[in-house]
C-alpha cells in the first residue's frame, strides 16, 4: 500500500507539479494595509506595457495570516507589468511590477512518468524466455514512444495556450508605499511615461536583483554501507549481501524548499552487481548555520545480475505421490544459471543533512532506504535413482533423468538501508 501510494505521489509530483498546464492562472502582489486602503478608492488595472496592451482587472483580497492584503489578477506574460492607478482626478500612477519567468523541469510525460512506467514494464521481463525478453522490450519502447508522441502534440499546445502561466510576481515583492511613485498628469500628452523598475533588495540564490529566477545545480557523490533486511522464504541463498554502495547524483533546486534530480547508486560484489537509477524529489529545510535538512523520495529503474551462487541437490523418497522403496529416491539437481539480467522498479526514501564546508562545497550524511529486488535462477532437473542387485555379484545403479529441465526463479525483496557519507558541489546559475 505504501509502495503504491509513494509511486502515485511521485508520479503526480513529477508530471503535474511543474507543468504549465497545471499552474495557477492567477498571480498576486502583496500590499500593506495603507496601500490597500488607497487602492480600494481608485481604479486599478494591470497591463503588459506594449503598443497594444493587454489589460487585466485587479481584485483586492484580504490576507489574514500576516495582516497583509494582496491584489490579484489573471496572469500576463512579460518580465515587467505596469500597475495603472487612476485617481478621481484622472491622474495616473504607473508602478512597475517585476515578474519572474518560472523555470522548472521536468514537465513532459517522456521525462517524468514514461521512464517509471517503462521501468515497470521491463521489470516483468523473464530473461529465461526469449519471447518475454522481446515482448517486454517492445512494450517498454512502445510506451515510451507513445509518451514522446503525446509530448510532441501536447507541448506546443500547452506552450501556446499557457504562455501567461509561465510568469508570476515574486512573493518577495511587496507594495509598501505609493507616495514615492510619481503621478502623471494625463492632460499633458507630451510627458514621457518613464517607469523605474524595482530592485530586489533581498537577493537569494533563487531570485536575483531584477527579480528573475535563478537555480542551483548540485552535483554530488557519496559512498556508504548497505545493511539488508530480506523478505523471502526459500532454502536457497537468494538475498543481497551487506556490501558497500556508491552513489552519484545531480539535483536542481529552483526554490529554497524543493529539489529534484537524478540519483544513481550501485554495488559491485563478486556474487552480484546491482544498480539503481531514480528520479527523486526532496523537501529542503534550511537552517541558519548554512545547513540543510533534506527529506525525499524516488522511483526509477533498477538492474540486478547475479554472477555466482551455490548449486544444490535435494532428494526425496516420494515420486508422483507414491513412496519409493528403500533402494530408490528422486534426486532434484538445481544448477545455478549465472549472469541473468533482471530489472525491477525500486522505490526509495532518504533523509540527509547537508552542511556547507567551504563556499559551494557541502558535506552530507544520510540514510537512504531502497527496496531492491534480487533474483537467483536455477535449472532444475529431476532423476529417479535406483540401486539393485541384478545377478549374483552384479549390482546396477540406474539414474533415469526424466523431463526437460525447468527454470526456478527465486525472487527476494530486500530492504536496503544505506548509511551514506558524501560531498557535493553547488553551482549557482
Amino acid at each position: 500500500m505504501f509502495r503504491k501510494f509513494s509511486f502515485l505521489l511521485l508520479v503526480s509530483a513529477l508530471s503535474v507539479g511543474c507543468n504549465s498546464a497545471f499552474r495557477s492562472s492567477h498571480t498576486a502582489i502583496r500590499i500593506t494595509p495603507p496601500v490597500a486602503e488607497y487602492l480600494s478608492q481608485q481604479t486599478v488595472n494591470v497591463h503588459n506595457n506594449s503598443s497594444n496592451p493587454i489589460v487585466r482587472q485587479v481584485e483586492i483580497v484580504q490576507q489574514t495570516p500576516d495582516s497583509f492584503f494582496q491584489i490579484q489578477f489573471t496572469k500576463l506574460a512579460g518580465h515587467s507589468l505596469i500597475l495603472e492607478i487612476i485617481d478621481s482626478a484622472g491622474r495616473i500612477r504607473n508602478v512597475a511590477i517585476p515578474q519572474s519567468q518560472l523555470k522548472a523541469f521536468p514537465f513532459l510525460l517522456s521525462t517524468t512518468t514514461a521512464p517509471v512506467l517503462s521501468s515497470g514494464i521491463i521489470a516483468t521481463r523473464n530473461p529465461n524466455v526469449r519471447r518475454s525478453r522481446t515482448l517486454t522490450g517492445f512494450l517498454a519502447i512502445s510506451s515510451y514512444a507513445a509518451a514522446m508522441g503525446i509530448d510532441a502534440i501536447a507541448y506546443p499546445i500547452v506552450k501556446a495556450t499557457s504562455k501567461n502561466k509561465l510568469y508570476a510576481v515574486p512573493r518577495s515583492f511587496v507594495l509598501r508605499d505609493l507616495r514615492q511613485v510619481y503621478t502623471f498628469d494625463t492632460s499633458n500628452k507630451k510627458s514621457v511615461y518613464r517607469v523605474i523598475a524595482p530592485i530586489n533588495r533581498e537577493v537569494t540564490p533563487y531570485l536575483d536583483a531584477n527579480f528573475q529566477k535563478r537555480y542551483r545545480l548540485i552535483l554530488g557523490s557519496s559512498a556508504g554501507f548497505g545493511l539488508v533486511n530480506e523478505f523471502y522464504n526459500s532454502n536457497a541463498d537468494i538475498g543481497l549481501k551487506q556490501t558497500p554502495w556508491y552513489a552519484i547524483e545531480y539535483n536542481v533546486q529552483g526554490s529554497p524548499n524543493l529539489r529534484w534530480g537524478l540519483h544513481h547508486t550501485w554495488s559491485q560484489h563478486k556474487d552480484f552487481q546491482a544498480g539503481i537509477t531514480s528520479m527523486q524529489v526532496a523537501y529542503v529545510h534550511n537552517n541558519p548555520n548554512n545547513g540543510r535538512f533534506i527529506v525525499g523520495i524516488g522511483a526509477g529503474s533498477g538492474g540486478f545480475k547475479r554472477y555466482t551462487a551455490d548449486n544444490r541437490v535435494d532428494s526425496t523418497r516420494s515420486y508422483r505421490n507414491r513412496m519409493l522403496g528403500p533402494d530408490s529416491m528422486v534426486i532434484k539437481t538445481a544448477a545455478f544459471i549465472p549472469n541473468n539480467k533482471y530489472f525491477f522498479l525500486p522505490i526509495s526514501g532518504f533523509v540527509k543533512y547537508e552542511q556547507e564546508l567551504f563556499k559551494q562545497i557541502n558535506l552530507n550524511v544520510g540514510i537512504n532506504v531502497t527496496q531492491v529486488t534480487s533474483y537467483t535462477d536455477y535449472s532444475i532437473q529431476e532423476a529417479l535413482r535406483t540401486t539393485e542387485s541384478i545377478a549374483p555379484g552384479v549390482t546396477a545403479a540406474r539414474s533415469h533423468v526424466y523431463g526437460f529441465p525447468t527454470i526456478e526463479r527465486n525472487k527476494a525483496k530486500n530492504l536496503l538501508v544505506q548509511f551514506n557519507f558524501g560531498i557535493n558541489i553547488q553551482l549557482n546559475r
Binding site: 522481446t134 515482448l135 522490450g137 510532441a152 552384479v394 533423468v401 526424466y402
Partner: protein, 134 residues
C-alpha cells in the same frame, strides 16, 4: 517528426521479426541410454551385448531392430554402451529398449542378465545412465 516515425516503424519491424524466430520452439524429445560396465573382477572379462528395440518405421509398420556389441574389459576398467537419441534412429515411437548382457572370463565368472529401459511418453526427456558393477 518524420525521422521519429521512421525510427519507430523500423524498431517495430525489427522486434516483430525477432519475436518470430523459430529457434524458440526447437526443444526436441530425447531418449538415450548410457550403460557403464565396471569390471571389479581380477581377470579380464569378455562382454557380449545384444540390444533389441522396436518402433514404427518410415512406412508406419512396427519393426524390431537388434544390435550386437562385444567388449573386452580389463580388471579395473570400464566399458560403455551408449545409445544416443533413440528417437532419432530409423524407428519412431520407440518406448522400450532391452539390453541382454553376457559376461564371462577365462576362469569361473559367468553372468547373463537383461536390462529393460522404458521411456515415459509424457516426458520430453528420458535419459538413462546405469552403472553395472561386477
Amino acid at each position: 517528426m518524420k525521422s521519429f516515425i521512421k525510427f519507430s516503424l523500423a524498431a517495430l519491424l525489427a522486434l516483430c521479426t525477432a519475436s518470430c524466430d523459430p529457434s524458440f520452439w526447437n526443444e526436441e524429445r530425447r531418449f538415450s541410454i548410457l550403460q557403464i560396465l565396471q569390471n571389479n573382477q581380477p581377470n579380464t572379462v569378455y562382454n557380449k551385448t545384444m540390444v533389441t528395440y522396436g518402433g514404427l518405421n518410415y512406412n508406419y509398420v512396427y519393426s524390431y531392430d537388434t544390435l550386437y556389441m562385444n567388449r573386452t574389459i580389463k580388471p579395473g576398467d570400464t566399458a560403455q554402451i551408449y545409445l544416443k537419441d533413440i528417437y532419432s534412429s530409423r524407428f519412431t515411437s520407440v518406448d522400450t529398449v532391452t539390453i541382454h548382457i553376457e559376461l564371462s572370463d577365462t576362469q569361473n565368472f559367468y553372468q547373463k542378465f537383461a536390462r529393460t529401459y522404458i521411456s515415459e511418453k509424457y516426458q520430453g526427456v528420458n535419459d538413462f545412465i546405469e552403472t553395472i558393477r561386477f
